[in-house]
Subunit: 339 residues, 4 copies
């Protein structure tokens, strides 16, 4: 494929505008041709900001446009599978926000359609493109820290979402920790065999009424025997807390958060710095741009995508296993989870 | 009690000389009067170094000396209970290296003797006196970080002990993680209800033959609902790795390792600093001195000791529960563990 | 003024493409209409990259275009004054790379023309827009560190320019330290009264043949009595080294360099991280974008510019005084320097 | 010489007790036999704390004691030279607090007496024994950072001394910066040729009445051509601020302050840590012990001392040159300063 890749973005909610802006201003090989949202004013706002020539209401209209090469799927999770199937049939390449679905059956149906159509599908696990996590991956892959033995991810949001958000999201394991499950496999370069999950309601009692946790720790056993933990909280008052540490046979690698500046003040009572970036949009600005850049190049140059549909299925399996573990209060093997 | 406290040190192995040196040179209110060890040359070396006027072979000889006010018990773990009982009967105050025993029955027997005699007993969980961990404790106790929600301890030795050391030590949970279990309760200011333990052999296959792990992670559920993890490894190539992090409702507190200097070199390939202190003797130099200082003051001023026998029993219960959990591959409540 | 500001960029050398790209992709209110360079292939490369519809050879052609509202002046320093005068006459607003000229007379001539024409002129001291230095400025201005007493700037390039670059550049004080002189006044919020400069040739003996230094330290006396130092080197093997520290009556503020990631590896020999950003293009990416953004807004909203021509004259005076001081080996008051 | 070295400490003011305690408790080869002070209660306090068997009023009484091998001279600076001469005649080895004298003539007289008597003399520039500065010295000496080009020392006290202290102290250059001048030569491994000094009164106007500065910066030209700066302030509200940075042809080395703990709290408004050590007694605890340890070993093993009288003369020359420079407002070559 030559020339620029013509994109349609489906969904102008929270993440759609992020992808639209990146496609418009930061990916030279991309051309953003259409944006779809049921709410005209949402689509209008993005179109104005990003100089998008066309607005439509539905994803179907985007798929019907023969000038569109690829879609970026940012509609609600429960619409992903159908739109992927339709897009695949229409021969469009697909960048889909994570997760494809909360149901393994739906994921498998979508993946089968993609496979049958021979289009490219990349799933939006954008953290894989963060320069910190890339550096960790590189260290593990190159043997810089030897064989990984112990693994620890910290992943905490600055404040909880509205309670109404929780139930449709699938809960803390499927909505939030799914990112960390993807990171765990990506960084360690291997799969997880068993999880043990413990959840708690420490931040807001309202989570209990939604049958969800606001605090959770999951222990992972990797196939190599290595052990890891992931800890999530819906509230870290000081900002977005996203770190990882791996102990290997030859050394340890650890990442710190990103800060808006590198300034340290030594005052009369303490030595202090400003808080780290507050949320994912600041922390992962560059990785959001990099993932659509990579997807665009994969399509234009017919290269494998960075995050395949199959890879994106695994964290969902892990999340389902974690949910089961937290309910049954026992370790759960991934092989117990079926579509 | 007035004047200086007259001490006998029992055991001139690895930790005995540390206590002897601290009593001799760093605790002004202490007088080190006798050292006991079955190996005369070991006792002699310590006596010469610390200007100790008397050497004997056995703890019994120390206990028989009416001029001795207090003993520091550094003999092998399996001798502690008997010597505590004898010391209590002899009216000596007791500083005992951790743990009192690997058996809860033995611990209870020793504690009963101490109780009956009305002597003071302090157990050597020296890390409680480390300035880093004290600062963390203070932050939790004062509400500086709000209510603790998540807890993580890292505790890794620079290199594994000889395999012959393992079996008598009671294994990774009783020998190594017992320190972290004490820290967990001390720092959080509350007790643990349940543990889930996963062990692995990642460093040296010889651990498997000894039915021990060289790598272990334990998940803790505190009574408040807070969740924590402890990760241990017998080998961290870069030195002694001892850190803790607590996330509370108002903030996070985290400690870093100690380094021999605060020097950073920006070289041609990387920015680097020297490795952290290599082992517990460097890292915990000051906390070893502080704990015997505190014990001496507790006796002289008739104040409560910093680490009571009862407090020291709990980490042993946790270690036994962790061992059981790792064998049965299920979470174990502490209430399942009986003497 | 309403709508978007139509820009012409003059000069497609090193810094012209940076401004072009920012105007094209990162400043929504800007429209980049033309690029000028005597070398057609240089202009062509930028035009292609940034979708610029028109290329010309000379600045005069840009100025003759009635559709152009503002120019960005990136041609060699000795062409700045004439082009500013011409642009002012043509009623174009001017963003000029620093310095306007190495000659105070020329600067004054340019400023007079700008004044007479009533156009806006902003000079490219981009570091004022760096988030680190802005935070320092804010701390000083708000009284967060009290009254500033001591000031220290470190500013070091990763490698020296070609020797042929030196003489036309005006030497280390006019070419390199002029940035730091601007920072000194900007951050401290006051002017300098006297300088004492010491230069040395430590990096490359070729600098001596060019009557230049590759290493220099200048001591500044501010009007308030505060004292400061600036240290420059043409070679810091580990990357671009740009830091500032101010001691005030209530505290100290200090900045660190920026790094491509926040990863720390604890290896077998040392604890290390990757090198800081290598050069100004990586370190100051955001401040280059912010300065043209600010200029664009100043014109469109008719607000004062962030770096006025008068402000930009002062660092040149300081650089000339520093040169004189280093030659005469004595402190030189700025009042000794005349146009 | 065999056995333990028998010491007399002369002066029980601020620094005398520090040396006494180190000799008593931290230097095994030392025996502290006598303490002298005109104020009996001061001598008594130290004697009680350090178990010193004998107290006297004057240094002469110490020197008259044939059982004393070495003295530690902590009396006021203007008594040093006479006591050194007398001690040398009495065949006592001498550890003398810095500086020997504010007068080069007096220094030379003292050094001649030491030379004639063949006793050992070490001067108390304790910072040379600090693990941070030793590491810097090692990096320079070993070539780890290549040839040093630029040098910067920060040295700031937490609060100013009483104004009455200033005049007898010789002022900021002789009293305070003299330490940094010693560091400069020690760390760089070479001598300084010329200084340029600027002083200011920024902290307390009372300094002006005493013809002293509370803030000073001195620029140093080393014989190799390298340039350096030292900045001193009598007040850094956040604690003792003692750092050094050297840029070499292969890299940079920099030290940070020492902190009482390695704890970082991420709170609701900022990320903070406790203040660094507040004053020299906390920061340099270990280097004070190390310097008397080294002196003791030098005498017992007849090895060269770590800081010779001749080496200790140079910082005084530099301080005198700095004073002259600040008065005459011009660079001063060290060769202009004569005894």
């Amino acid at each position: 494929m030559s020339g620029r890749l013509r994109f349609g973005v489906i969904g102008a909610g929270r993440i759609g505008p992020v992808h639209a802006e990146n496609l418009a201003f930061r990916v030279p090989q991309a051309e953003l041709a259409v944006i779809a949202d049921l709410r005209p004013e949402a689509a209008q706002a993005v179109a104005a900001r990003c100089n998008i020539p066309r607005m439509v209401s539905t994803g179907e209209e985007v798929l019907a446009d023969p000038g569109i090469d690829a879609i970026v799927l940012c509609s609600p999770t429960d619409t992903h599978a159908d739109l992927i199937v339709a897009a695949a049939k229409a021969g469009k390449h697909i960048f889909c926000e994570k997760p494809i679905s909360l149901s393994l059956k739906e994921i498998d149906r979508a993946l089968a359609a993609v496979e049958a159509a021979g289009v490219k599908l990349q799933v939006g696990f954008n953290r894989r493109f963060d320069s910190n996590f890339l550096r960790v991956r590189q260290a593990v892959a190159s043997g810089e820290i030897g064989t990984p033995n112990l693994f620890h991810i910290v992943s905490r949001d600055p404040f909880p979402p509205p309670l109404s958000y929780l139930r449709p999201s699938g809960g803390i394991f499927l909505d939030m920790m799914v990112h960390d499950f993807d990171m765990a496999c990506f960084l360690m370069g291997e799969e997880v065999e068993e999880v043990y999950a413990a959840g708690a309601v420490m931040v807001d009692p309202g989570f209990a009424a939604e049958e969800d946790f606001d605090t959770a720790v999951v222990m992972l056993r990797f196939k190599s025997g290595a052990i890891g933990t992931v800890d999530n909280s819906r509230k870290s008052t000081f900002g977005y807390d996203q770190r990882v540490e791996i102990l290997g046979s030859k050394g340890k690698i650890a990442t710190e958060n990103r800060y808006p500046n590198q300034v340290v003040v030594s005052g009369e009572k303490c030595v202090y710095s400003d808080l780290p970036f507050n949320f994912f949009m600041q922390r992962y600005t560059d990785s959001f741009a990099a993932e659509v850049q990579a997807f665009t190049e994969s399509v234009l140059e017919d290269k494998p995508v960075a995050v395949t549909g199959t890879e994106s299925r695994l964290p969902v399996v892990m999340a389902l296993a974690a949910g089961k573990s937290s309910q049954e209060r026992r370790p759960v093997r991934l092989s117990e989870i079926h579509a």
